[in-house]
């Protein structure tokens, strides 16, 4: 009888301990980085219930993120408005000047330069928690922006017309006479060359573009049009489309590939929270969560986009960059003014007046 009592007490103790242990584990699992500030932020976010994000990301990605968030951090509804940042930035400025309450929490851009006007006008809130609590390294402009994903701008080629061996391995190789005559396609905004200019100097980048234009390339506006021309065999080499786009086309069966050429320009798509955001906690929490490996995985699986350089980099593009380790020119708040200036100069070669 005593034995039975001891056994039953032991079982109860084990059950109680098990309950606490499992409960504690469950609580731990709910935290991204296991820190108290994040739990507090999540509690605030849950109370606000909604986060409104404006930016160019495909709506499909946010639908996937909503599904993941509902499972792990229920109570936050993502309201997404898909558009390019330029008109959005103008509207945010105009609404703010008219004294209208902000109708958006987070602004996202495909590149840091596009949202620079908001930094200039001090309209973004500083949040050190992204770095300190979420452990993210892609934090810019003194904690005003956190990286959402990268857009690597490599040299891409059509594997049907160009072998891996023949493909240009450096920017200078694009000047080889074999590429003369509508064999190269270039995106008209010349972003990769403007970024190269920050490393090489404006004169060298301008000289490269001038010589490249003498190769009689096809020049069109829009990265998608560039990628399509390459996939469709219209050209052999493409500049101005993204590495993740090429990887996505490869998966779909297109005969395309890319070279992690050095130096490799990498744009930063970043998100920032407005000072006047109606849901500041939800905005900070969601922006931070998107930057974590968990958030990155969902974005990557839905679209192929992810952080391609840095601590939280994942995916095929990141793997290929890590394998060859080319020098990377990453767009940050430190160099975006220089990129902008060189881009404007290069634009004059294509008809821009200023």
């Amino acid at each position: 009888m005593r034995k039975i009592r001891v056994v039953s007490k032991t079982v109860v103790l084990i059950i109680i301990l098990g309950f606490f242990v499992s409960g504690g584990y469950a609580q731990e699992k709910g935290k991204t980085a296991g820190s108290e500030p994040i739990a507090q932020l999540y509690a605030g976010a849950k109370k606000e219930g909604t986060v409104i994000i404006w930016g160019p990301t495909d709506a499909i990605i946010y639908r996937k993120m909503q599904e993941a968030l509902d499972k792990q951090y229920p109570g936050i509804n993502i309201e997404h408005f898909e558009s390019i940042p330029e008109p959005l930035v103008q509207r945010i400025i105009a609404e703010s000047q008219a004294g209208k309450p902000a109708s958006v929490d987070i602004i996202q851009s495909g590149s840091l330069r596009a949202v620079r006007p908001l930094i200039d006008r001090d309209m973004l809130a500083v949040y050190p928690g992204w770095e300190k609590d979420f452990g993210l390294d892609a934090v810019y402009a003194g904690g005003r922006f956190v990286g959402a994903y990268n857009l690597t701008l490599p040299i891409a080629y059509n594997t049907k017309t160009v072998s891996a061996k023949e493909a240009p391995k450096s920017w200078e190789e694009l000047l080889d006479p074999k590429w003369k005559g509508r064999k190269i396609i270039i995106e008209a905004r010349l972003v990769p060359f403007a970024m190269l200019g920050t490393d090489w100097g404006k004169a060298k980048a301008t000289e490269l573009v001038k010589k490249l234009l003498a190769q009689e390339p096809i020049i069109v506006q829009g990265g998608t049009t560039v990628a399509n021309a390459l996939a469709g065999g219209q050209v052999s080499v493409a500049i101005g489309t993204y590495a993740y786009t090429i990887e996505r086309l490869k998966k779909a069966g297109a005969t395309v590939d890319w070279v992690p050429v050095a130096p490799l320009p990498v744009l930063t798509s970043a998100v920032g929270v407005l000072k006047t955001a109606p849901h500041p906690n939800a905005a900070r929490f969601f922006a931070g969560w998107m930057g974590t490996t968990e958030g990155q995985k969902i974005r990557y699986e839905a679209s192929g986009q992810a952080n391609e350089v840095g601590k939280n980099a994942i995916g095929t593009v990141a793997e290929r960059i890590n394998a060859t380790r080319p020098a990377v020119i990453l767009e940050t708040d430190k160099n975006f003014a220089a990129i902008l200036e060189i881009q404007r100069e290069l634009g004059k070669l294509l008809g821009a007046l200023r």
Partner: protein, 593 residues
């Protein structure tokens, strides 16, 4: 359309009240004042924004943020060594495109409205279809057809002619290629603008010419074309500005062809994705277009000064009759079919092909194996698509109706009050044309700045987009209705008013029915363009006012080319259906029994 003298007499017979000159003038003056006010308001807001922005230092600033006033934007435009080549290229591109587009439009208007070419009702609908394909997708389709390396037409020509080499013989990336594609894009709209005037012509003039021994060609050149001169001039000046402004073709072909035009420079200033648009520079460039628009309007006024000479619809009754082409019937039909094949079928098939491919690939057996119609089912899973289709339909109808109503008032006062209040009528005619000279993005910005502060709560709604589009399309629609009204003699309205009908009733019962062909054309033109407009919609839309054009654009930017093409095909079919409906209505009006 058959409008017999008896029908008009019966219309005026119902008007039995004694004529009250004082009341008629009061009602008319009120309407004149209202029209002046509304048109001025619609046009002046973006116009002031344009001029204001052009004298502000707007690098990294929005026009209303800037405190510094400067002429630096103009100084840059007029001192830059790039400006002269830009203007010369623009001139060549404009002349080349018009040289292709306008004669084709005139030929179609004459063939389909004045002759008995077989299948004219169907051909008249098909001629308009290219207008319904979104311009970006249409330009891409043309590249797929005429690219020197993989373009289907070039591949076929190389095989047919036994040509060696990997490229040619045709090169779309040239001035000729740009003019060809742009010219073909102009045909449907220019046809719509001109066709109503051909339709409303008094055939007795042509008959008299024939009786005097002139053949069809001589009659057309010496009688028909001079009578429709106002419509031709209206089309000419309108499309000069349209070509100067258009960016789709220069953006896709011009960079490669090294043909930099004015719209390329405006594009660089406003869409360079390097922070805020450079509104100062864009507006200074836009002012050049505006001055040109004013100059063209002045020429138009001078050339149509004695407008009664062009009136062919009079109280004497008329019955448009079709010319029998006899031995030229088949060549004319063949000409129409070749156009339909080149301008309608080829680009549409390429668009359809793109919508069936997971990524773009030229037609081949491999690619054919990958073709799927899944996109047409999957697209409806996105609830935004349903909302966008609904919003687009509402926007198209509201914009078209508002634009027509305003245009009829503008045209009536411009044409009928020219003698009484020449300066104000001239002002109305000019001001209604000016929005065409203001870049769309400037109209969008002006409305944001005004309505974000204005007590009228339309900011963030569909109505602000409709307002922007009504402003934008007023130029086309008032040009078309004015040309048509010039051909309607005032004596019909005078008869009605003498019988005691108030001005508004006369307008409703006499003028509007006579302008019906032009109004139907304007309705469909505006509706189709409102469905496709992107620049203003991108500035003004929000999640609840998403439209199909912005969705196509977003999908394209995100690499979802097949989805964008699926929506493009659907938009084309929807617009084509509307056009066919319009043509059917016109057909019923022409053949009531």
């Amino acid at each position: 359309m058959i409008v017999s003298r008896n029908a008009l007499v019966s219309r005026t017979r119902v008007l039995t009240a004694p004529f009250n000159l004082k009341a008629a003038i009061a009602g008319r003056s009120l309407a004149f004042g209202f029209t002046l006010l509304i048109v001025s308001y619609l046009v002046i807001v973006p116009l002031i924004t344009l001029l204001y922005a052009s004298i502000k230092s707007t690098e990294d600033k929005l026009p209303f943020e800037s405190t510094a006033t400067t002429l630096a934007n103009y100084a840059l435009v007029f001192s830059s060594p790039a400006t002269l080549p830009l203007l010369l290229n623009t001139l060549l591109f404009t002349l080349g495109s018009l040289a292709i587009g306008l004669p084709l439009a005139i030929i179609f208007a004459w063939l389909l409205e004045r002759t008995a070419v077989p299948g004219r009702t169907w051909i008249a609908s098909l001629v308009l279809v290219p207008m319904t394909i979104p311009s970006l997708l249409s330009a891409i389709a043309w590249i797929q057809l005429l690219d020197p390396r993989i373009g289907l037409v070039n591949v076929a020509l190389r095989a047919l002619l036994g040509l060696s080499g990997e490229t040619g013989p045709l090169d779309i990336y040239s001035l000729g290629g740009m003019c060809f594609v742009q010219g073909l894009r102009l045909v449907p709209s220019a046809y719509l603008m001109i066709a109503a005037s051909f339709r409303a012509m008094d055939p007795s003039l042509e008959e008299q010419s024939a009786m005097a021994g002139r053949n069809v060609a001589q009659t057309t050149l010496r009688v028909t074309l001079p009578i429709v001169r106002p419509a031709l001039l209206a089309a000419l000046i309108y499309y000069v500005i349209v070509v100067i402004e258009s960016f789709d073709i220069p953006g896709l072909l011009g960079f490669t062809a090294r043909i930099r035009v004015l719209s390329t420079a405006i594009y660089w200033a406003t869409h360079s994705e390097v922070g805020l648009p450079d509104y100062g520079l864009a507006s200074a460039l836009g002012t050049i277009v505006l001055v040109l628009a004013l100059f063209l309007m002045w020429i138009y006024h001078r050339l149509t000064a004695h407008q009664e000479r062009f009136a062919t619809i009079t109280g004497k009754g008329y019955r448009p009759r079709q010319i029998n082409l006899r031995k030229w019937k088949l060549p004319a039909l063949l000409f129409c079919l070749i156009y339909v094949f080149i301008a309608v079928l080829l680009p549409f098939v390429m668009l359809l092909w793109t919508s069936m491919q997971p990524f773009y690939a030229p037609p081949s057996m491999d690619a054919f194996g990958r073709a799927t119609f899944d996109g047409y089912l999957n697209i409806w899973r996105d609830s935004t698509v349903v909302r966008a289709v609904w919003n687009t339909t509402i926007l198209a109808i509201v914009t078209a109706l508002a634009t027509i109503a305003l245009s009829i008032l503008v045209s009536w006062f411009v044409v009928r009050r020219r003698r009484e209040s020449g300066a104000l009528a001239g002002y109305l005619a000019t001001v209604s044309f000016l929005p065409q000279g203001v870049p769309s993005i400037v109209i969008g910005l002006a409305l944001i700045f005004v309505y974000v502060r204005f007590p009228i709560p339309i900011y963030g709604t569909l109505w602000i987009i409709a307002l922007a589009m009504t402003t934008r399309y007023l130029a086309f629609s008032s040009r078309t209705t004015t040309s048509a009204l010039i051909q309607v003699h005032g004596e019909l309205e005078e008869a009605s008013q003498m019988a005691g009908a108030p001005w508004l009733r006369t307008l409703r019962r006499i003028t509007v029915p006579l302008l019906a062909p032009a109004m139907i054309n304007v309705f469909f033109w505006v509706a189709v363009h409102a469905m496709q407009e992107l620049s203003m919609a991108l500035m003004l839309y929000n999640p609840s006012t998403v439209v199909v054009s912005t969705m196509i654009w977003s999908m394209w930017q995100n690499g979802r080319t097949a989805d964008a093409a699926v929506l493009g095909v659907m938009l084309t079919l929807l617009s084509a259906l509307l056009l066919l409906g319009g043509q059917f209505l016109s057909y019923l009006r022409r053949n009531p029994y």
